[in-house]
Amino acid sequence: MAKTKPNILRVKDISVSYGELSAIRQVSLEVNEGEFVALLGANGSGKSTLLSAVLGVVRAKSGTIWFLDDDVTRKSTDYIIGSGISVVPEGRGILPMMTVMENLQLGAYHAKGNVSKRLSWVLERFPILAERKNMLAGMLSGGQQQILDIGRVLMGSPKLIVMDEPSLGLAPSLVSELFRILLDLKKEGQTILLAEQNARKALQCADRAYIFEVGSIVFEGTAKELMRDPKLQQAYLGKV
């Protein structure tokens, strides 16, 4: 009997409204340790709203969110991040007016343990950041900024990495590079929750996927199922 992986994130029946407008309705999903879970769906289908609710940026109208079995539905963003979630937001989370080093150090704001060791590890893993460590982050190229953001996120040794549309605005070669890094992280046991419009790339890395449509989840299953079934792909993802 296979040992079930411990649950990292559990979302149950979450609904979020912006005023009168319902953004997401009764959304439930879960992420277990070491899994790479993808949230797919068109622009505006609710993926980002769900992530905002998980991170405490928007208040859910109803439903519950557990992170590591702790009810975080009503908790503040800094509490949730401090519990072990690191975020790469849409459009990147780096501060362009601060240096590469400072951005990495900020990634360690909630880190426990030896920060300088962590810093060396990140710089070794991404030599491009070591080369430019005193440069202003805003002067890096788009691809380098993306790597900085990932480095920044790893500084906190997070239990869960959340990413919102990381491939947006990146050239195709950089997108491949990005997903190669994500796959490496997955192989190292990192738990990842990714919202992506680029369904093909996401499914190549993911274990499981949820598909959003107009604020609800219309499909959930393994990435393999989705890749194998052309009917599913046609119905929900257009041509993948």
Binding site: L55, V57, S76, T77, D78, G93, I94, L95, A108, Y109
Partner: protein, 291 residues
């Protein structure tokens, strides 16, 4: 020549005080997005508190100074919840009005409740009774020494905190981008209170230096200084920490020199005139906004 040197030293002293005030105000502008007009009045009030402690303890400055500093910290922190809703909206104009309101209350309190509204004076014994250092044409009183050195140390410590300490870095992050800072897990409210606490600390320290250099405090001191401080902040570039320090020093020296060579109110006319020209030509200030 003697007059010139003496005035440059005086000017550096005054300029150091201006720079501490401007740094304090700019810090709050940067981190909270509010213009704390009453910051200076709280500083003056802390001077009065120091004076009251001096009266009670037979001129024990070692007690009076920390008392004044503590008063400043507590008072500035006390205003934080009042500014918080405005800070969230980055409502500069409204915060200016709120600050003015608070300053009126403080000035009224000082002019009626304390010492019957009369100015208070600080005995020279707190600065070694007029002791001084002389090297050729250069003449320093202890007040000058404490003020200039003390300001330099305070500013260095502050910059060290902002650039080398985790919480200082977090404050700079908030100043640049609130939503990204939030997603970094930085507790925005707590950082806001810290910035007010540091502001209060700076105000209290400045009050101590003012007691030494000026030797007196009056209820009208707040108004004249506050306007000048905001204008220096504008001149350097709102929220620009490093620029503010430099401009404050320059203006302090300029004021002192003009005062020595031209009669009375020319000082204000020339200094404010120069600032006016700069702001017309460069509305973002000499160094631009943001440190």
């Amino acid at each position: 020549m003697d007059v010139f040197v003496a005035q440059v030293i005086n000017g550096l002293s005054i300029g150091s005080i201006y720079s501490l005030v401007v740094v304090g105000i700019n810090l709050l502008i940067l981190v909270k997005g509010v213009v704390h007009f009453s910051y200076v009045h709280i500083m003056v009030l802390s001077m009065f508190v120091s004076w009251m402690v001096l009266q009670q303890t037979n001129n024990n400055f070692a007690l009076a100074a920390p008392a004044g500093i503590l008063a400043a910290v507590l008072l500035v922190i006390a205003t934080e919840p009042l500014f918080r809703p405005l800070a969230q909206r980055k409502a500069f104009l409204e915060s200016l009005i709120l600050g003015m309101g608070i300053s009126i209350i403080i000035t009224e309190a000082m002019s009626h409740q304390i010492h019957n509204g009369l100015p208070v004076s600080f005995p020279t014994s707190i600065v070694g009774g007029g002791a001084h250092i002389q090297a050729g044409p250069i003449f320093f009183t202890l007040a000058h020494v404490y003020t200039i050195l003390g300001s330099i140390i305070a500013v260095i410590l502050l910059f060290y905190f902002l650039y080398r300490h985790k919480e200082g870095r977090a404050m700079r992050a908030i100043a640049q981008d609130v939503s990204k800072s939030r997603l970094l897990g930085i507790p925005l409210n707590r950082a806001g209170i810290y910035s007010f606490a540091i502001g209060g600390l700076l105000a209290g320290i400045t009050g101590v230096f003012m007691s030494m250099t000026l030797g007196s405090a009056s209820s009208t001191l707040g108004d004249s200084l506050a306007i000048k401080a905001i204008i220096v902040a504008l001149f350097a570039g709102m929220g620009n920490l490093k620029g503010g320090v430099i401009c404050a020093l320059l203006i302090g020296v300029a004021e002192a020199l003009v005062a020595a060579y031209l009669p009375g109110r020319w000082t204000e006319a020339i200094v404010f005139g120069a600032i006016m020209i700069v702001i017309i030509l460069r509305p973002r200030g000499v160094f631009g906004t943001q440190a």
